[in-house]
Amino acid sequence: MLTRPIRVLLAKVGLDGHDRGIRVVARTLRDAGMDVIYSGLHRTPEEVVTAAIQEDVDVLGVSLLSGVQLTVFPKIFRLLDSKGANDMIVVAGGVMPDEDVLELRKMGVKEVMLQDTPPDMIVATLTRLVSERGER
């Protein structure tokens, strides 16, 4: 376990304007004692990765309800790699087909939490992923 709060950047990428879900997740993580940075709507992968590196977050969580996951995540991983930040834990949330979930896992997305994930499970998942990675 870390001796400090887990830092998380929650991001909305692209034209997707549905932010009710991500705000609920932000509250849930806050109530679990995490420091949560919210990007706001309509960000580009470049903006999200830059923010995540400046903020040095443990976890980058991207919420997508617009179906562009297979376009957005490869860009995010490429950018993280090129900026020397490949120890960042990337997770996804939202609504997406099961076959895309498999693709994302192959790409390096550590966990994909779909629309029916209970809030406690999100907290437990992030806590586990950060504790497995350890202090850095």
Partner: protein
């Protein structure tokens, strides 16, 4: 940055302005990691060039928006700008939602701007405990101007004035009358007053209240000969920003002109020493008092003795 990179190595990478290294050093300062102490000490010794601007004001007064617009203006003049934005932690869970970045999203892709959000984690003066270290790190990494935005404060959170070279207090129209303006506390610490949202019709009243307070109160500025200006601006229309940048430059020149600058540096150093000693003392106390706490708390709860005597006893037992 896969396995653990030693902090000493991060120092050299931060010196070249590498974003990931700067970010990681700030995280280690925030986590108070013993391994990073030497690196932070070295950074402190090699820092000290930047101009630190503190921005404070009540919640919703427009601080984040002002920081975003001011940063854009300073960038146009060629200054590299670091921003540290502090938001409150929950008193119950310890968690936080750091939302200042949202107002600054236009700046993200500019490599001459670095933005870091910080939660207070129980600090009460308007800053977070690692804010001062973060200032050193950004200073060391070559940012000419560092803007520190405090949490939205009430009337008494004035630590920012002890940590910055130029303190800007932001007031918004419609939040109180002239009696608020003559109270002690936050309004006294301003080197520059800003009244935001001056596109609103009631802004003039606030401008007048603050100006009147200042005419009665020439002695409060820490630089005796500095005339504290009141700048009305609107982030909506952009009015007032050229004047604000001008006043910041004037204050910087004024403060670094002669003796008062040394006094300001001395007061920043003294504050730094005090805060660091407090942190060390509190850590030591937290560890060494742990085994006495339960029994002494019980005695207090049963009213076997009074708080003052029992606190004294706890201190003696813990720190000797």
């Amino acid at each position: 940055m896969s396995p653990y990179v030693p902090s000493g190595e991060l120092v050299e990478r931060a010196a070249t302005g590498e974003t990931a290294a700067i970010g990681r050093l700030i995280s280690r300062a925030e986590a108070n990691m013993a391994e990073a102490r030497g690196a932070l000490a070295e950074i402190y010794l090699r820092a000290g060039r930047s101009h630190v601007i503190g921005i404070t004001g009540v919640p919703g007064s427009g601080k984040s928006t002002l920081v975003a617009s001011l940063t854009a203006k300073l960038r146009r003049k060629g200054s590299k700008v670091g921003v540290i934005a502090v938001d409150p932690s929950s008193p119950y869970s310890g968690g936080a939602i750091l939302g200042d970045r949202i107002r600054m999203s236009d700046l993200v892709m500019d490599p001459g701007v670095y933005i870091r959000s910080m939660a207070t984690h129980g600090s009460v003066g308007g800053l977070a405990h690692a804010t001062l270290s973060a200032i050193d790190i950004l200073d060391f990494a070559g940012f000419d101007t560092i803007i520190v935005e405090t949490v939205g404060v009430g009337q008494d959170e004035v630590e920012i004035a002890k940590a910055s070279h130029t303190t800007i207090v932001v007031s918004a129209p419609g939040l109180g009358d002239e009696i608020q303006a003559i109270k002690a506390g936050m309004l006294e610490i301003a080197d520059i007053h800003v009244v935001s949202k001056c596109d609103r019709s009631d802004a003039n009243k606030t401008l007048v209240d603050i100006k009147q307070m200042l005419t009665l109160d020439a002695a409060t500025s820490r630089l005796p000969a500095w005339r504290t200006p009141v700048v009305g601006l609107s982030s909506y229309t952009g009015d007032g920003y050229p004047e604000l940048v001008e006043e910041i430059e004037k204050h910087r020149a004024f403060a670094s002109g002669v003796k008062p600058s040394a006094a300001r540096e001395a007061s920043i150093a003294s504050f730094r020493l005090q805060k660091t000693a407090e942190t060390l003392l509190m850590d030591r106390f937290a560890t060494s008092s742990a085994r006495f706490r339960k029994s002494i708390t019980e005695r207090l709860q049963k009213r076997e003795s009074d708080p003052y005597s029992l606190a004294n006893e706890l201190l003696t037992l813990s720190l000797g």
